[in-house]
């Protein structure tokens, strides 16, 4: 490498090798994605991909990948490629490959070759030891490529040669009923391919970085990116799945245009309270320009398209009620605990208790509501919207308290000192400095809590009740039913003591109910999916409102 031409040649060869490594990284990412797709049954394992049967194609790709990585490792070892490897791939990689190869050789020995316990243990130990020797003893370039490449290569070979074909299945012995556990290719192939893609992708990324510190860095990055990507993919698939299943029933019969929608009556009644003198009344009908039957209708035999409006209303009122109860109480207690109470045994006990309360199963909250709330509001115990609100409010309370307290503790003491030094009283300081600074944290807590309670079913079964098929006039009309009375409590709202329904509860009831013909629902399955989609959208909207609120408070604190 003394002459200029020689350096040029080496550089040229190095860049070819780098291209190979980069292609291997890309290929493993592609394989990982294909494995995910196969796992979600977006890719058929029995079918063909680009004209080639899927399983052998995946196998062939794995073999290619494994060969490429091993070739790169060998090239680096023979100094054909300029790299910067460490002395060894390290103990961690060694241990991991030992484990992997122990399992692989053990499975092959016991299941394929049918060796006995002693036999497969010996074979597995041998495989593990060999893997350890190959990984940890030679230089890093060999140690991290050969075991990984060999793994991908042998798994790929099995798939390529039809060792595992579309009709393959495996029932592990040892279960009492031999047929009780059977593994099919639709499970094995995605897992094996994804795993091999991760391992060999890691090796390829290391190779691309030229091993050493930079290589390890890139290898770790690849693993993190692929994992994060797959988590996001799972989330996305989950939402997309519900959308795909539920969008048809939800969008059925939607029309847009002037005067197509239902009519809402806006009425103003100015009545002198307690005297029953009506000063004037005004009422005006508004016709909505949208008709969205699934969202605006209830369930009725008369409807063309049945809907879940009462359940939407119920869920919204539940969340509003629970938040109205829990947020002031929780934030108030947090202020007391952080700003006023002496830090010590008492605050510790409260902290432990709130944490325990947050982990209390929701059905226990439901039992509490059923035992203590139901008999309180009506002469005979009766499930009601109010009881549901209070139960969910108590479920929400501990989280609001915990997060608000954390948020306030993380407000720097400098702010409090600065305010105190200006001669501002403690309460004023809390209100004008501590709370605004803690607000984003408080809102985060409320978001998380609402996410939980909005989808809660168990406590509602015990406290709120409601039907399976609810007609539109059974929707809770809380605002309209406030009434002023002469005697205490002066304001009554009969609607609050009525049983009503909510989306998660109704979904649960719909799953229990088999037929819906009597209420005019032809296809229960699509109706359920539609309800699930609406539930998802409603919860996500609460989430969006929360994020926007948090953003609002955060912007006030930030200087960007």
């Amino acid at each position: 490498m003394t002459g200029a031409t020689e350096t040029g040649v080496v550089r040229g060869r190095a860049s070819t090798a780098k291209t190979v490594a980069a292609a291997a990284v890309g290929l493993s990412a592609l394989l990982f994605a294909l494995a995910l797709a196969a796992g979600f049954e977006l890719l058929s394992l029995t079918g063909r991909l680009a004209g080639v049967p899927t399983i052998p194609l995946l196998g062939g790709l794995l073999v290619t990948l494994g060969a490429a990585v091993i070739a790169f490792g060998a090239g680096s070892r023979l100094e054909l490629v300029e790299t910067d490897p460490s002395r060894s791939a390290g103990l961690v990689a060694g241990t991991l490959f030992t484990g992997i190869w122990f399992v692989v050789t053990g499975l092959v020995a016991s299941q394929t070759l049918g060796l006995g316990t002693v036999g497969w243990l010996a074979a597995a130990s041998l495989g593990g030891a060999a893997a350890f020797a190959v990984t940890a003893l030679p230089r890093e370039d060999v140690g991290s490529t050969v075991p990984a490449g060999a793994l991908a290569g042998s798994v790929g070979l099995v798939m390529l040669t039809g060792g595992i074909g579309p009709d393959w299945s495996w029932s592990p012995a040892g279960f009492s009923d031999a047929q009780s556990v059977t593994v099919f290719p639709r499970v094995v192939i995605p897992i094996a391919v994804a795993f091999c893609a991760l391992v060999v992708g890691w090796a390829a990324a290391k190779a691309y970085g030229g091993f050493g510190a930079r290589g390890r860095h890139l290898g770790a990055y690849l693993l993190i990116y692929l994992n994060a990507g797959s988590i996001i993919a799972v989330l996305f698939v989950l939402v997309a799945f519900v959308f795909a299943k539920g969008i048809d029933p939800v969008m059925a019969g939607v029309t847009v245009g002037l005067g197509v929608g239902p009519t809402t009556t806006l009425a103003v009644d100015l009545v002198i309270p307690f005297a029953d003198v009506r000063l004037f009344g005004l009422s005006y009908d508004v016709v909505w320009p949208v008709s969205w039957p699934f969202v605006m209708n209830g369930a009725s035999i008369l409807n063309d398209v049945n809907g879940v409006w009462p359940a939407i209303v119920g869920t919204i009122w539940l969340v509003v009620g629970a938040v109205a109860l829990a947020v002031p109480l929780g934030v108030g207690s947090a202020i007391f605990l952080t700003e006023y109470a002496e830090r010590g045994r008492f605050t510790q006990v409260v902290e432990v208790a709130t944490n325990a309360l947050w982990s209390t199963p929701s059905i226990v909250f439901g039992l509490f509501g059923a035992a203590f709330l139901l008999p309180r509001f009506t002469p005979t115990p009766k499930k009601s919207l109010l009881a549901g609100m209070i139960t969910l409010g108590f479920m929400l309370l501990p989280l609001v308290l915990i997060t608000a307290r954390e948020a306030m503790l993380s407000v720097p003491d400098e702010y409090r000192d600065a305010s105190a030094a200006l001669g501002v009283s403690k309460w004023q300081t809390v209100r004008s400095v501590v709370l605004p600074a803690a607000m984003p944290g408080v809102v985060t807590g409320v978001i998380l809590g609402v996410g939980r309670i909005a989808g809660e079913t168990a406590p509602l079964i015990l406290t709120m009740g409601g039907g399976t098929f609810v007609t539109v006039d059974q929707a809770a009309s809380v605002v309209d039913s406030f009434q002023l009375t002469l005697s205490p409590p002066f304001v009554t709202n009969p609607e609050l003591t009525q049983a009503t329904t909510a989306l998660p509860y109704q979904l649960y009831q719909l799953i229990l109910a088999n037929v819906g013909q009597s209420s005019g629902i032809e296809n229960m399955d699509t109706f359920r999916w539609g309800t699930a989609l609406v539930l998802l959208v409603v919860v996500l909207s609460f989430y969006a409102i929360g994020i926007a609120t948090r953003q609002y408070f955060r912007r006030k604190l930030d200087y960007e």
Partner: protein, 332 residues
């Protein structure tokens, strides 16, 4: 380092304790009566410590400072403990009204602690315990009936590190007056047409001008104060303190994060303030203390007040050898 100072020792025989003992066993001048013939005759008694600080006895008369005019703050025998550790030992001094008093001394000698005693900010540190007395205009502030909120309204403070609120620049300045009800821009008063928006704007401008910040921020008063530079934040804190219009202003190294130009502005400001306010300022910058202060108190290691006198006297002809060493930059 200690060798370098040995030539300054005129009497090695009085060397108290070991070299590592940085003068904590020095008496507070109670034995001054034994040396009635004064320091000029016997020479200064001192050895040297590892920090190069000369070891000597403190005399009561070094901290007796006579002045004409009113006393704003009168501190008597102040001891402060953080847990078991004592941070201030028997500090007594009177701060004259409408003047600038500088506190100087090496790091960790208790200047900030002393300053915090003057508006009872030490009460906010749970481990801190204060003994002794501080009188503000003849009223004892360390008594159970003291109203801390009212006290801190009268004794404002600028902290060592800038601590603006995460609010707009305008809101930072008008925070104090608003909370005290002097400026009212609340929704109700706005609805009633009684809001003080103009008063507020004037106040903000005046305070920011006084703190030499107006020209830099007048076009972005609604921006968040945390977006300002460190030096700008410090001046904002000064403006915020001025807005409350206190009688006494305590400043803990107000210019430590500022460039020479801004420092000069702050120094001018402090001199101007002294016409109406009583200013107590901690500084590490000797020239600054010499330039702006009327009298200077020198604290040395161990939380003792060593000498307190006219600034000119302290810087030109101090009684204490240690103070002379300190102000001439020989240690600390």
């Amino acid at each position: 380092m200690s060798n370098a100072r040995h030539d300054a020792a005129t009497d090695g025989s009085t060397d108290t304790g070991t070299a590592t003992d940085t003068g904590t066993d020095v008496d507070t001048g109670t034995d001054a009566d034994d040396d009635t013939d004064g320091h000029t005759a016997t020479g200064r008694q001192h050895g040297t410590t590892t920090t190069g600080e000369t070891d000597e006895r403190i005399r009561a008369e070094w901290t007796d400072y006579e002045f004409a005019g009113d006393v704003a703050l009168s501190v008597e025998d102040l001891d402060v403990y953080y847990g078991d550790e004592q941070a201030l030992r028997g500090v007594s001094l009177d701060v004259p009204a409408e003047s600038v008093t500088a506190l100087i001394g090496p790091s960790g000698c208790g200047k900030s602690t002393f300053l915090r005693c003057l508006n009872r900010m030490n009460d906010r540190i749970s481990s801190a315990r204060v003994e002794g007395s501080v009188e503000l205009d003849g009223e004892e502030i360390y008594q159970d009936a003291a109203d801390l909120v009212a006290l801190r309204k009268r004794v404002g403070m600028v902290f060592q590190s800038p601590n603006p609120f995460p609010k707009s620049i305008r809101d930072n300045v008008s925070y104090g007056p608003r909370k005290h009800g002097d400026v009212d821009t609340g929704l109700l008063s706005r609805l009633l047409g009684r809001d003080d928006e103009e008063t507020e704007a004037e106040l903000v401008e005046r305070c920011l001008r006084n703190a030499a910040l107006w020209d830099e921020v007048n076009d972005r008063l609604d921006d968040n104060a945390l977006g300002l530079s460190g030096g700008q934040q410090q001046r904002l804190c000064i403006a915020r303190c001025l807005a409350v219009d206190p009688d006494v202003i305590l400043m803990d190294e107000p210019a430590s994060a500022l460039d020479p130009i801004a420092t000069a502005k702050i120094e001018d400001l402090i001199e101007d303030l002294a016409e109406e306010y009583t200013v107590v300022v901690v500084t590490h910058n000797m020239q600054q203390a010499a330039r702006i202060s009327d009298q200077t108190a020198v604290f040395l290691t161990g939380g003792r007040l060593v000498e307190y006198d006219d600034t000119d006297k302290i810087f030109e002809n101090p009684e204490s050898q240690r103070v002379e060493d300190y102000v001439t930059g020989k240690f600390g």
